[in-house]
C-alpha cells in the first residue's frame, strides 16, 4: 500500500496517498468537484488554492492541479476571486499610457510590496509587469505576463486592489493588435483568396479521383 499523508480540507482531516495532487486528493476524499477544476493541467487558472503547512507562518498559494499534497497541509480552495475587468472597445483604443490611467488607475497605487510576485502560481514577475503597464510599456508588460493563467491569486494578496491579470490582458491585446508588426504575407494571402486566386485549383483537387489524390499525397514534396 502506498504511503499516505494527512491533509486538512477546509479544516477537516483526510488521509490520502502522498503521490496525489491537491485536486486528486480532494477527489480521493470524496469531493465531486464542480468549481475549482477546469483544465486539470495548469492552463485555465480555475484551481487557485491557499494552504499552510502546520506550524509554518507562511501562507502559500498554488494551483491545485499542479501541486502535490504534503503532510499537515491545511488547504482552502479559492475557486473565485472578484477581479475587476473593465470594458473597452479594442478598435477605438489608442495604445498609449493614458489607456491604463483611464481603465485601471489603481495600478498607480501600487506600494511596491511585491506580494503579487511572491504569490504568482506561474512564477511570473507580476510587480514588474505592472510597472511596465504604469509606464505604458505594453510590449514588455505583455512579454513578462505572457504565461499568466489568470487564477487571481496575485490580486487576492494585493493591498492596492489591483486586478493584475486583467491589466496584463489589456496590455497583451494592445501589443498583439497595435504594437507588434503586421504580417504583410498574411494580408496578401487573405486578399488573394478573396480574389479567388486558389478557387479553381481547390475545386480541381476535390474533383480528382481518389487514386490520383493518393498518388499526389504520397509523393508530395515536403519542405525541409
Amino acid at each position: 500500500m502506498e504511503n499516505t499523508v494527512n491533509i486538512y480540507l477546509f479544516g477537516k482531516r483526510y488521509a490520502v496517498p502522498e503521490s496525489l495532487t491537491i485536486m486528486g486528493a480532494m477527489e480521493y476524499a470524496g469531493y465531486q468537484l464542480v468549481r475549482g477544476c477546469g483544465c486539470r493541467n495548469g492552463f485555465c487558472g480555475a484551481c487557485a488554492t491557499i494552504y499552510r503547512i502546520k506550524g509554518d507562518r507562511e501562507l502559500k498559494v498554488c494551483l491545485a492541479c499542479q501541486t502535490k499534497v504534503e503532510n499537515d497541509m491545511y488547504i482552502a480552495t479559492l475557486p473565485f476571486f472578484p477581479l475587476v475587468k473593465q470594458v473597452y472597445d479594442i478598435e477605438k483604443i489608442t495604445p498609449g499610457e493614458a489607456v491604463m490611467m483611464q481603465l485601471y488607475p489603481e495600478i498607480y497605487a501600487c506600494i511596491g510590496c511585491n506580494a503579487c510576485t511572491k504569490s504568482c502560481t506561474q512564477g511570473l514577475k507580476v510587480m514588474q509587469y505592472i510597472a511596465y503597464a504604469q509606464r505604458g510599456d505594453f510590449a514588455r508588460c505583455a512579454e513578462e505576463s505572457f504565461d499568466c493563467v489568470m487564477c487571481g491569486v496575485c490580486s487576492s494578496r494585493c493591498p492596492a486592489g489591483i486586478s493584475h491579470p486583467q491589466v496584463a490582458q489589456l496590455a497583451r491585446r494592445i501589443n498583439g493588435k497595435y504594437l507588434a508588426p503586421a504580417s504583410a504575407h498574411l494580408e496578401d494571402r487573405v486578399r488573394e483568396i478573396e480574389n479567388g486566386t486558389f478557387s479553381e485549383l481547390l475545386e480541381a483537387l476535390t474533383e480528382k479521383p481518389l487514386d490520383e489524390l493518393k498518388e499526389l499525397y504520397n509523393n508530395r514534396e515536403i519542405e525541409a
Binding site: C39, F43, R173, I174, E221
Partner: protein, 540 residues
Amino acid sequence: MAQFDMLESVKKVEAAREANLLFEPKRMTAEEKDALLVAYHPDYKKEEFEALKIGANRGDPVPHELAAVLEGRPRITPADVDLTRIDHDCDVLIIGGGGAGISAALEAEQNGERVLVVTKLRVGDANTMMAEGGIQAADKPNDSPAIHYLDAFGGGHFAAKPELLVKLVSEAPDAILWLNKLGVEFDKAPDGTMITTHGGGTSRKRMHAARDYTGAEIMRTLRDEALNRNIAIVDFTAAVELLTDTEGKCAGAVLMNMETGELTVARAKTVILATGGAGRMHYQGFPTSNHYGATADGLALGYRVGAKLLYADTLQYHPTGAAYPEQIFGALVTEKVRSLGAKLVNAEGEVFMHPLETRDVAAAAIIRECSDRQKGVKTASGCGVWLDTPMIEMLGGEGTILARIPAMHRMFEKYGIDIRKEPILVYPTLHYQNGGLDITPDGMTAVENLYAAGEVVGGIHGRNRLMGNSLLDVIVFGRSAGKHASEKAKSVTKAESLSLCRLEEWEKERTAAGIENETPSPKLLPVYSHGNPLFQKKYF
C-alpha cells in the same frame, strides 16, 4: 509488457544522443502505415466497439462508453420541467464556452442578434485553453490552400467531406488575421513574418503559434472580447436536453445549474452546439489530455433530437502523453516538441520512427514498441518511450526551450525534471474526437435550426486530424456557425410552444430496442476517486 528500467535506459539514450541527432529516420510507406495502424491503433480494436441500437446511426459502430451515453437514460423527463415558463429568451443560444462557442457568439452578436452562451464550467475552461502547439494556415509564399487541403485530406485518410475541408483551408488565413486583429499575439519575426513550423503530416511549415500557449492566448482574447461586448454568458450551466418546436425544429434547451441542480428553460430561434470533445470518456481506459468537461455531451444531446453522427468511431490518441511522473499521466506533451527537433527513442536508445509522422501512425508505433517489440520503459501505470528533449537545444541553441515551449518546461520542472537536460517518457493519450455531428458547410446538423461547431463536429478532418487544424476549425466553423445561425434567426419566428416530444419518443425507442442501460446522459462530468477503496461515489 515493458521490461526496461528507467535509470538504466536513460543512460543508453544519453550515450546515443549525438548519433541519434544526426540520424535521419526514413518515413514509412503508405503500406507500412496501413499495416501498423490495423495491428496497433486503438480504433482498430473491434471488441472495443458496438453497433448503435437506436437513432439516426443505428447499426454504426461507436466505442462502448459512447454507446452508453448515446443510448443512456436522459437526465430529465418531461414531467421535470414546465415548458411554458421561459427563463431565458434569446435569438441564438450557444451551448459551450470554448473557442468555437465564443467565436460563434462574437459573430452572432456582430450580426445584431441576441446571444446567450451557457457553459458547464467557467467560460474558457475548455480544450481550447489547453492547445499548445499551434494553428495552421497556408499564408506563406511557398504554400497554398490547395497544399493545405492535400495534407489534411491525406492525413485524414481521404475521408474528410471535401466541401468542409475546402472551407477550412480557404478561410484559414482570414481566421488568423481576425484573431490577430483582436489582439492575439502570434510569434512573429521583427518584420512581421509569422514564425511557422511543421506539425505531423504537414508538407509546409504553416503552424502558427503563440509560444506553447497558443490556445490559451486565443481563448483568453476571445473571452475578453465577449466580455467587452457585454454578451450574456452564464457559467456553471449545462444543457441537459434540447427543446424543439411542435414541428421538431430545434428551439432551445433545458439547462441545469451545475451547483444547485436547478432546471431552467431557454428558448431560442437557433441553437449552436459547441460542447467540444470527449477525452473524459476515457475510451478503452486511456488517460486523456482533455479538460474536465470533455464528456461528449453534444453528441448525446444532438443525437437524441435526430442529428446524425459521422465517424464517431474514430478517436485521436495523441502519441505523446506524459507517461511519467504519475501526477501528470496523460497530460499532453505538445507535438511542437517534435517539431522543434526532439526524436522518439525506445528503451534501447534507438530512434524507432520519423518524429513527424501523423498522430495515429506515431501512436500506433509507440504502442508497438511498448507491446510486441518489448522496447518500452517501465512506469507505475504501464510503460512509455523516450522523447529526447535535450536534442532541441543541441539543434536550436541554448534558450530554445524556454523561448518556444515554456509551458512544457514548467510542467515537468514542477516534478524536478529539467527537459533541457533530461528526456521525458511518453505514451499515447486520448486527445481528440475526430468524429462527431454531421454538418452542412453552413454548420447546420440534420435537425433544422440546430447548428454545431468545433470538436463536436465530425467530417471536417476525416478519420484523423492534423495538429493545428482543430484550433483552426474551431475559429473558422465557430465564426461561420455564428454568422449563419444568426442570419437564420432573422427569418425564424419564436416557437409558440416548446416541446420535449423527442424525449418521449426516445424512451419508447429505448424500450422497443430492449435497452436497459441506465447511464445518465449527458455525462456532464467524470467521477474520480483515485483508487479510494472506501468510497462509493454518486452525484448529488
